[in-house]
């Protein structure tokens, strides 16, 4: 006779080795089955949106780059696109292509990082090591082309700051070839390892309808079979590049893993296309120091999904309001939907299945 009204409560975070970032989940557990999950945030909240009042719109590029280290290139890109639209400048074609190249390399970096963390979450240390080892090549590419390993800060309002010359482009393609080889190995491992499948198949299932209604974005949504990818709206140079959103049907962690693995190949392909089509021209155009009044929404596909930038200006150097809705913020609802009913051992996997980026979420 067990008094089931009294259940275990287990804190998950804020300091927890599985979570690279501090969130707190209060898990109500029955045996090892999670019954309820109450999240608590705010351990990374800094209040960056309000910094628009203190830093002008050019400085803000670097601040939004620091919203998150993993998707920083896309944050900068999205912000710059919004401001550019507000001002009404046309960015040089070369800059658009370069943005695509960096964004896609960043996506590979992010997915590999995520993959390593997922492996870590289900206790596959060697796989973690393997994927991070592959990732170091990507980091080298980023450092060689943009100057920094993680936060590359290449976007500025009006274009990009750095260039990739032909020689470097060749080197990048060469490196990517090696990365692709290793990725193929990784792909095989994911598809054939019995233990990985045991831990991911059927874990955290979101049906197509649920995923859509919960407002999920990115691989979380595409893993459930909804082909929504912001890149198809054709911002930057994506309109000239050939690609299809990657979709898996099952909607479980395994499907999302496969989506991300496939996306890495897709990104390599996109980088190749972009480099082959890279037009000559200026890197950036000068912009006036004052902004016109108006409000703009800009959306960019980050590794984790669609990021939503809303900016509003009433003129002057400073923006009036900056609002960032990051992909993880949109995916939180899905996470909360998936957690109840899972087992305690699957919680890290579930948390990672949406590829959480808490510093994005909390800004």
């Amino acid at each position: 006779m067990i008094r089931m009204s009294e259940k275990s409560t287990i804190p998950f975070g804020p300091q927890h080795p599985v979570l690279p970032e501090p969130i707190h989940l209060k898990l109500v557990v029955e045996d090892e089955k999670v019954v309820e999950a109450y999240p608590a945030f705010g351990f990374v909240h800094r209040g960056l949106e309000l910094l628009v009042k203190k830093k002008d719109f050019n400085q803000m590029v670097y601040v939004v780059d620091h919203i998150c280290g993993i998707c920083s290139a896309m944050h900068g890109q999205s912000y710059c696109q919004a401001v550019e639209e507000l001002i009404g400048v046309e960015v040089p074609e070369r800059a658009k292509y370069l943005r695509v190249i960096w964004a896609e390399i960043h996506r590979i970096h992010s997915h590999l990082l995520w993959f390593g963390l997922l492996a870590d979450a289900f206790g596959f240390e060697n796989l973690f090591m393997l994927s991070w080892r592959i990732r170091e090549k990507i980091m080298d590419i980023l450092e060689a082309t943009a100057g920094n390993r993680v936060i590359i800060s290449v976007n500025i309002v009006g274009g990009v700051r750095r260039d990739i010359d032909n020689e470097q482009a060749k080197w990048v393609l060469n490196e990517l070839k090696e990365v692709e080889e290793s990725l193929k190995e990784l792909d095989k491992i994911v598809r054939n390892n019995y233990t990985i499948k045991q831990r991911t198949v059927g874990v955290g299932v979101l049906s197509k309808d649920e995923a859509y209604k919960l407002g999920a974005v990115g691989p979380t949504l595409r893993g459930s079979g909804v082909p929504i990818d912001m890149r198809t709206t054709g911002y930057a140079a994506y309109k000239d590049l050939d690609f299809e959103p990657i979709v898996e049907k099952d909607g479980d962690t395994y499907a999302r893993t496969i989506v991300r693995v496939k996306e890495m190949f897709q990104s390599i392909d996109l980088v190749r296309q972009a480099i082959s089509k890279l037009p000559e021209g200026e890197l950036n155009v000068k912009v006036k120091p004052n902004l016109p009044a108006g409000e703009v929404i800009s959306r960019v596909e980050q590794p984790r999904g669609e990021v939503f930038y809303y900016i509003k200006s009433t003129g002057g150097k400073y923006l009036d309001r900056l609002r960032v809705r990051t992909p993880t913020f949109a995916n939180l609802a899905s996470l909360l939907h998936m957690l109840p009913g899972s087992s305690l051992a699957d919680v890290p996997v579930l948390v990672l299945t949406i590829d959480p980026c808490i510093s994005c979420t909390e800004r």
């Binding site: 067990i2 008094r3 089931m4 045996d31």
Partner: protein, 628 residues
């Protein structure tokens, strides 16, 4: 003289019990009971010292009177059962009472030819049982002084029902002695039925709806066992024309013995609450704790084991014996499984009792000399430790108002003495070097060439460790910042707790002496070769050996080292809070792990159903073994 002692050990408690009924003054009553208990213990000790066993004792002067009294008692008892079963509308009990009454009348009046049978048959097994009944029983009764006062205060019982309570307990003690000493099978049957009835009365002592319900369940299941026992006796009589235990045991031609043996085993299963009859024992946990301790863990349920042990030479080496072993092993593992999913301490103990009884039955079924030795050792150690644990739970329950092991978290801070004793009690039940584990070791070694049984035993012993370890962890949890409080132990409660603890540890410590003095002669009595030898804490067979003193020494060293370590570090040690992922630690209502009972693996209800089916099938198999 000696038969006087035997008679006295049966009659005296019963008479004392009847006298207690009329003692209304609390202090006089207590003094009287305490004196009687002292006499009972003294009697048993004198018998241990003086009785030359095995032997048959006769006391012809009293025989006819006794026999007549018992015959009348048989009918009176059955009619009383009929009466109460009508009163509480428990038709199953009525059914089985009638089912007993009809053969009994037929047997007594038409079949049984009057002939004088020796009164008492005593060997080491009887002495062991008597010691357990007297010493453990007395200690539990002493415990009940303090417990019952508190209990009645809590339940607002007025006027006090204690005379009735203690009377039944004393009568029960006498009846148990009757079961273990009697030579006449019909006497055994009579005393057996008395234990059933007193169990019924004591379970229903509180007169709540639930208590009556459970008491009636206990009644009808045990009445069913009574039917089986009676049938067994009748079958023996029809085939061998005797009701004398000594004669039955010396039967040479065993062709017709197996069917009666099945019935007796069946009776033993019901009494020992084996699957699928475990429900009455679980229900019996509504009774006041001393009752649970006395009847339902340490003595009455052992009557089943006793009777099976008693007759074990008769079915040695038969298929029936093997099937009984499998059945016992199955009960052992199945109820251990059920115990894992419990959080109610009394239920855990109840399941674990059933489980251990199953283990004993398994080893009786194995029926080699070492297995019998293991069964007897288990019987002794289990009785002491289980009684101790029940008493601890009772004390805890009266203090914290709950018998849930979840509520026992941090008990070491609130009730340091009782918690420590409970801890020791659990250790004596599950861990080396204590007797229970030594016996378990012996059984596994004995069973090693019966692969099915040994697989089951291996899993079962791991399960046992699981639920007890969890309990220990709950008892001892706490931090330096927890609220500490002093504990005042009621003197009578204290006496029995301390002495039971001392006995539990001492018995394990002198296991070799115990074995050489009581168990080995019994094996010889049962005409088996002694394989197991014991010298200075080293029990060994040709196949292996278990030595206990090194483990005791290890325990001692660990205690000394940790005391040194704690004392030395009082200055430099940093008292810290448990890790909670960086959040502030809150003592109460903070993060906590509760109810980790694998209910997602093992749902008690469904599991019980399946286990019952399997066990019924196994009993059918045993019957098959008896018929072939």
């Amino acid at each position: 003289m000696q038969s006087n002692l035997l008679l006295l050990s049966i009659i005296f408690p019963i008479i004392a019990g009847i006298i207690v009924l009329f003692l209304k003054q609390s202090s006089i009553r207590k003094a009287f009971i305490a004196t009687s208990l002292g006499v009972i213990v003294l009697l048993s000790l004198i018998m241990l010292a003086t009785l030359k066993v095995p032997d048959i004792f006769n006391f012809p002067a009293y025989y006819n009177g006794m026999d007549l009294a018992i015959k009348i008692g048989d009918f009176a008892l059955l009619f009383y059962v009929l009466y109460i079963s009508f009163k509480i509308k428990e038709w199953r009990a009525t059914f089985f009472a009638v089912l007993q009454l009809v053969p009994l009348i037929y047997f007594e009046f038409f079949m049984l030819k009057e002939h004088e049978v020796a009164m008492f048959f005593v060997d080491e097994l009887s002495i062991i049982m008597n010691l357990i009944i007297s010493i453990v029983g007395s200690l539990i009764a002493i415990y009940a002084f303090g417990y019952m006062d508190h209990h009645e205060e809590e339940k607002h019982v007025s006027p006090t029902k204690q005379p009735r309570f203690f009377a039944i307990i004393l009568v029960f003690l006498g009846a148990m002695n009757g079961v273990v000493f009697s030579n006449n099978l019909m006497w055994i049957y009579f005393f057996w039925e008395i234990t059933t009835l007193s169990s019924f009365l004591l379970i229903g002592h509180d007169q709540t709806e639930e208590a009556i319900k459970n008491a009636s369940r206990a009644l009808w299941i045990n009445m069913m066992g009574g039917v089986a026992l009676l049938l067994g006796i009748i079958f023996i009589y029809t085939n061998y024309n005797t009701t004398s235990l000594a004669e039955v045991l010396s039967i040479k031609d065993a062709t017709y013995i197996l069917l009666p043996m099945f019935f007796i085993a069946f009776a033993a299963f019901t009494k020992s609450a084996q699957l699928p009859f475990q429900s009455w024992l679980l229900g019996a946990m509504v009774a006041p704790t001393p009752v649970s301790a006395l009847l339902h863990s340490s003595t009455m349920v052992k009557a089943g084991i006793y009777i099976l042990l008693r007759f074990s030479p008769l079915f040695r080496g038969t298929l029936l014996s093997d099937f009984i072993a499998i059945y016992g092993a199955f009960t052992f593992v199945a109820t251990a499984f059920l115990a894992v999913s419990q959080s109610n301490a009394k239920r855990i103990l109840a399941y674990s009792t059933v489980s251990n009884l199953g283990l004993m039955i398994a080893s009786i079924g194995l029926n080699t000399s070492s297995a019998i030795a293991a069964a007897i050792l288990l019987l002794i150690f289990h009785a002491v430790s289980k009684a101790l644990l029940f008493l601890c739970v009772g004390t805890i329950e009266q203090h914290i108002g709950s018998r849930d092991i979840e509520d026992m978290k941090g008990l070491i801070n609130r009730m340091p003495v009782t918690a420590a004793i409970t801890f020791i009690g659990i250790l004596t039940l599950m861990a080396a070097p204590f007797g229970m584990l030594v016996s378990k070791w012996l059984i596994i070694e004995v069973a090693a060439n019966q692969i099915l049984i040994s697989i089951i035993l291996a899993i079962g012993s791991a399960l046992t460790a699981l639920y007890y370890t969890r309990w220990i962890g709950n008892l001892l949890s706490g931090t330096y910042f927890s609220q500490h409080s002093e504990e005042h132990v009621n003197p009578t409660v204290g006496i029995s707790l301390y002495s039971l603890t001392a006995i539990a540890i001492a018995l394990s410590f002198i296991v070799s002496i115990l074995y050489n003095m009581l168990v080995m002669p019994q094996i010889l009595t049962m005409k088996m070769d002694v394989v197991l030898k014991a010298v200075r804490g080293y029990l060994y067979t040709p196949a292996g050996g278990f030595t206990i003193y090194p483990i005791f020494i290890t325990l001692g060293i660990a205690i000394v080292l940790s005391l040194i370590s704690i004392r030395k570090s009082t200055k430099v040690v940093v008292k810290t809070t448990p890790y909670t992922a960086g959040l502030n630690y809150i003592e109460d209502n903070g993060y906590n792990v509760r109810n980790y009972y694998l209910t997602t693996f093992a749902n008690e209800g469904t599991l019980t159903r399946y286990f019952n089916y399997v066990s019924i099938a196994l009993i059918a198999v045993i019957l098959g073994g008896a018929l072939i």
